[in-house]
Symmetry: C2
Subunit: 315 residues, 2 copies
């Protein structure tokens, strides 16, 4: 079970190692959305996304023996960079499994933080099996992207900070992939204010969490084509799903067009660079997916790492 105490402990552990990111507002966004919106800017976070919170909490909690062994992760995205950075700061060996066709920029960024990268063939090899096998062979401790309470507690510190800065929110929204960010943020928010309403947001083609909540059990979907590359997980997490079931009022979904329009709005009007996945919760507010009686809205902008080539296309 994930508790507010675990999130408070995480904050003690990681506070000096991460940024306390600012909460920003925009009159223009509020006018367009018809709500009063408070943006928690995790795009300004170290390594460019909220992921460093959970990774740091997990890695700093390892025993001396585990640190000696080193750690492994599988990710081609923000989790890889977060584990690499948090691992370097803890002085441990970091090995990251990436698909052979991962973007060169992401491979370079992960190596830039000092991690070793090993490649697998996405067509032939299952990434989780590959990484687990690798971790066992090299005697490394796996740092999973979400199914681990220390990871969830770390992500929850983002919600804690948001509620400290703006206590009187009607609701909070966070992008939802494996569900780690949402589970952490919603747990923190409900502990501070039990009446707060919590909404995970998914791309409409990557709505495994929405389908799972409707069905009452974890549903697996085919690889989703959404432009939000960080939200292409096909099934909710084992640990996260019961938390999402308990705390989510409803799952909101957005189209790729709504994601891109919101990304452009945030870039050119608000002067903030937010990645496609990171902007989904904001897109749900911008495109009026919230109930009418919700007024004061907290939105997590979960990351800002976007490939220059993709950005050039989108603007």
């Amino acid at each position: 079970m994930l508790t507010i105490d675990m999130i408070q402990e995480a904050r003690e552990r990681i506070g000096s190692r991460i940024h306390r990111t600012p909460v920003l507002t925009s009159r223009q966004f509020n006018e367009a959305a018809g709500k009063e919106v408070f943006f928690k800017c995790e795009n300004f976070q170290r390594a460019g996304a909220f992921k460093i919170r959970g990774a740091t909490n997990k890695i700093q909690s390892l025993t001396a023996a585990e640190k000696q062994q080193g750690i492994a992760a599988f990710s081609s995205g923000n989790h890889a960079q977060a584990v690499a950075l948090a691992g370097r700061e803890a002085g441990v060996r970091v090995l990251v499994a990436m698909p052979e066709d991962a973007p060169a920029a992401k491979v370079a960024a992960t190596r830039g933080y000092g991690a070793e990268v090993v490649f697998y063939d996405r067509q032939k090899q299952d990434r989780e099996a590959f990484a687990l096998d690798l971790a066992e062979r090299e005697r490394l401790v796996m740092v999973p992207p979400y199914d681990d309470y220390l990871i969830l507690a770390g992500q929850g510190t983002c919600g804690l900070e948001l509620l400290e800065d703006v206590p009187d929110l009607d609701c909070v929204l966070a992008p939802c992939s494996g569900g780690g960010l949402f589970a952490g943020v919603a747990t923190a928010a409900k502990a501070v204010n039990s009446k707060i309403r919590c909404f995970p947001v998914e791309p409409d083609t990557a709505d495994d969490t929405r389908q799972s909540l409707l069905r009452g059990e974890r549903v697996s979907i085919p690889p989703p084509p959404t432009i939000a590359d960080g939200l292409r997980v096909q099934i909710p997490g084992k640990l996260t799903f019961p938390i999402v079931q308990q705390l989510a009022e409803d799952v909101l979904t957005v189209t790729d067009e709504e994601i891109v329009a919101t990304l452009r709005f945030m870039l050119f009007r608000m002067k903030l660079l937010v990645e496609t996945s990171g902007v989904t919760a904001a897109a749900a507010v911008m495109f009026h997916k919230l109930p009418a009686d919700v007024k004061r809205v907290g939105v997590v902008l979960s990351g800002g790492n976007i490939d220059p080539d993709l950005l050039r296309e989108l603007i």
Copy 2:
């Protein structure tokens, strides 16, 4: 003469009408620059730049009779949008003179704030003469971009806020075109801390202020080719130049390449959109133009309005 009292009065007058913009920091920038840098984010300001400060202070100070008459400005850039917005909020008629070949986006933005736009032929007509003639004919009050103490006092509020948030700075840097922003910020900074060192920053091909300081009088330069379109003024202002002479320790210059590299760094590493002109002071720090004994540096990011086509080219 521009005094701190005038800046304090401006703050009283405009405080509720503008954003108190945040001051942000970046470990990555600090590491690259070798300084501890505090960014005053006027790219988040209303209408996307610091210009709304001076325009609001000027327009809110008009007499009832002047407000009845309406106002005029000549600008194809941030000043136009600022005057249009501040004018609309004061309920006055606003007429803006722009060159016929002004970018459609800027014309639309200015009209979007409710201003009338009149065009002149840049090849055949002198813009200042055209605007003055127009103002006289239509009995409008001119709102100049910098040569007016109410404008300067308004821009100074930006420096006041920065020094309140970070009092123990060794120096402040601001982009310099007509000199209004620098004059206001430096006056405020010196009033708070007389030892603070103040540096205006110009593109190397638009160094009219640098040349003027060397010569001891206002020097006019040919139209500069710099990519920083907001800094293409050819001669320092009449009111601003003596203030710059008195308060500037030295003029720093940056190349277009340094401007673009810094813009890209701020966008992809810091997730901030800053326009070419707005990034020049940051570029001077990034490319080590400051004396070595300066440690804690305040930098004004003066605006974030950039054309999507230009941005696409630059990234």
